[in-house]
């Protein structure tokens, strides 16, 4: 009796194990082929000079050294960081302000319209909206300059001056992505306990005092997450710049992603391009682990 029970139990376990592996098989094979293996190969490539004809050779850290000592690559690195810092700050700040403005009782259809207006840019590809913005930013035939001139303001070289081009791309980025952070913050704001807020209102503390003393500390994990998430996206910036300026004027707006594609597939500097993508990945890994460590601490209290 005892024996037969154990047998069925272990049979069940075996069947479960077999089923488990079968169910994850498709995902795991695809994941290994298209994510794991390529990541490992890229890391290996980053230490080589890749030449399929004459044979690749190991060059150690030479590719990384080249990136961190070249004038052009440093400018590109700086461009990317610069874009990330301003785009992240802008997106998170505007998203938070929008969320504060929207976080109140209003008729359902109004809420629908606002969500439509602020979220539509989020889900339409940057590749599409950048083309529209390209026409908005035009020098002579641009929509924005037309209105600037009509109101007697000097027109701006939005994309054709190296001093303003990056700023113009960041403005478009905030238009496109702030709505995402707005939605994120609205959800967080609704979690702020009403009792504490009501008590603060009874005590007569002002709106901004309540915001800085109660609301902001309460939603700070979400704000922190938003900053990390936005940074990861911003470091990869590619299509908006490709379409608006092609990285120009000169190298004024060239980002790491553009650099990777150009080096790898136009110049066929595979090893060097791989090292640039490894650098980008390492930065992302560092940012993500900071987030993981910090959120663990937050959860505890």
């Amino acid at each position: 009796m005892q024996a037969s029970v154990t047998r069925t139990k272990s049979d069940l376990e075996k069947a479960q194990t077999r089923a488990g592996y079968l169910f994850i098989l498709p995902s795991f094979v695809l994941y290994s082929v298209f994510v794991l293996a390529p990541v490992i190969v890229t890391f290996v490539l980053s230490f080589t000079y890749y030449d399929p004809m004459a044979g690749s050779r190991w060059v150690g850290l030479e590719n990384f050294q080249r990136f961190f000592t070249g004038d052009r690559s440093l400018q590109i690195f700086w461009n990317t960081l610069c874009f990330a810092i301003f785009a992240v700050t802008g997106n998170v700040t505007v998203g938070l302000l929008l969320a504060l403005a929207l976080n109140r009782a209003m008729p359902a259809f109004l809420l629908y319209l606002f969500r439509l207006a602020y979220f539509l840019p989020v889900i339409i590809a940057a590749a599409f909206v950048s083309i529209v913005w390209g026409y908005f930013y035009g020098d002579d035939l641009g929509v924005i300059n037309y209105y600037l001139i009509r109101f007697g303001i000097t027109p701006i070289h939005w994309l054709t001056s190296s001093r303003t081009a990056m700023m113009s791309i960041i403005i478009m980025d905030i238009w496109k992505n702030a709505g995402f952070f707005m939605i994120l913050f609205i959800a967080a704001l609704q979690g702020v306990p009403k009792t504490i807020m009501d008590a603060a209102i009874m005590d007569g503390s002002s709106y901004w005092r309540r915001f800085f003393r109660i609301v902001l500390p309460w939603i700070s994990p979400v704000v922190f997450f938003a900053i990390v998430y936005a940074s990861i996206g911003a470091l990869q910036v590619y299509e908006s710049i490709v379409i608006l300026t092609r990285g120009g004027p000169g190298d004024a707006t060239r980002s790491m992603s553009i650099h990777i594609v150009e080096e790898a597939f136009d110049s066929f500097e595979i090893g060097y391009a791989a090292s640039v993508s490894v650098i980008m990945t390492l930065i992302i890994l560092i940012i993500t682990s900071i987030q993981l460590l910090a959120s663990r601490r937050w959860v505890r209290y």
């Binding site: 089923a19 498709p26 298209f34 890229t42 994120l184 594609v261």
Partner: protein, 262 residues
């Protein structure tokens, strides 16, 4: 707030309105933010231009639909195993899968390009499909949802001697509808919008998807044909806008969830 909302929508109003302007007046100022006519001539011009727009459109549909269907299948299967079955190494495998969320497309694209060149998948939309047939995020999303569902029914069926596939198909799957529609919508819009990967892997016009083709069209039809470019653009953004209008809540929740994936 309302005024700002209108400003947010101006680029879209402009794009649709311009697509109805006669090409000769494309650059006339002031620009229109409401359609001046309802003449579909520019749309016709796109379809009959020398750019294989219908082929490109079909590529986009094919890639987005196949990737969405593929992910629904592979992610649900894996999620069922991770949420409901016990097997050696389960949690470590899940962890390895989750690490994938941290790698940007930039760090996988070079080997994939070299590999595709070797096996003849370069410049074929189906290559893009293969790359995205599963996603760590999708597995994670469905697993989270499944863990919040009661498993009494599944256990009862197991007692009755039903096999695991039958339990998955007959009992778990029907309960997953909300998670699957969210995943389907996110995946479709995301895939429709892929640019970086498509630009590297799909070079000839015949193989392009819409996001890369729009850039080409702009150069190709640009001289004075802004209206025609905008007609093409209107057609390109239409599916995503339709999905958004029909399922706004699902889209907003889904896209936000895909952000909170970490």
């Amino acid at each position: 707030m309302a005024a700002l909302g209108v400003v947010m929508l101006l680029p879209f109003a402009w794009l649709f309105s311009m697509s109805f302007r006669p090409p000769a007046e494309a650059y006339k100022m002031p620009p229109s933010f409401l359609p001046p006519t309802l003449d579909f001539k520019n749309y016709w011009a796109v379809l009959t231009s020398s750019v294989p727009f219908l082929q490109i459109y079909w590529n986009s549909v094919e890639v987005a639909v196949l990737v969405t269907l593929g992910q629904l299948v592979t992610c649900t299967l894996a999620a069922f195993a991770f949420a409901r079955l016990k097997f050696p190494g389960r949690d470590s495998i899940f962890f390895v899968l989750l690490i994938g969320l941290m790698f940007p497309a930039q760090v996988t694209i070079i080997p994939i390009y070299l590999g595709f060149a070797k096996v003849g998948l370069l410049n074929r939309p189906i290559g893009l499909v293969l790359m995205y047939l599963t996603s760590s995020f999708g597995v994670f999303l469905v697993r989270q949802f499944m863990r919040s569902q009661p498993k009494a029914l599944e256990e009862a069926a197991l007692m009755d001697g039903a096999g695991y596939f039958k339990i998955f198909y007959r009992i778990s799957l029907p309960q997953l509808r909300p998670a699957l529609s969210a995943l389907g919508i996110i995946t479709f819009t995301q895939t429709w919008n892929y640019y970086f990967q498509a630009r590297v892997l799909l070079e000839p016009q015949q193989a392009m998807t819409l996001p890369i083709a729009m850039d080409l069209l702009r150069g190709y039809l640009a001289s004075g044909n802004l209206s025609v470019v905008m007609a093409a653009m209107s057609m390109a953004v239409l599916p995503v806008i339709l999905i958004f209008l029909l399922a706004q809540k699902l889209v907003v929740e889904g896209v936000t969830m895909s952000g909170i994936k970490n």
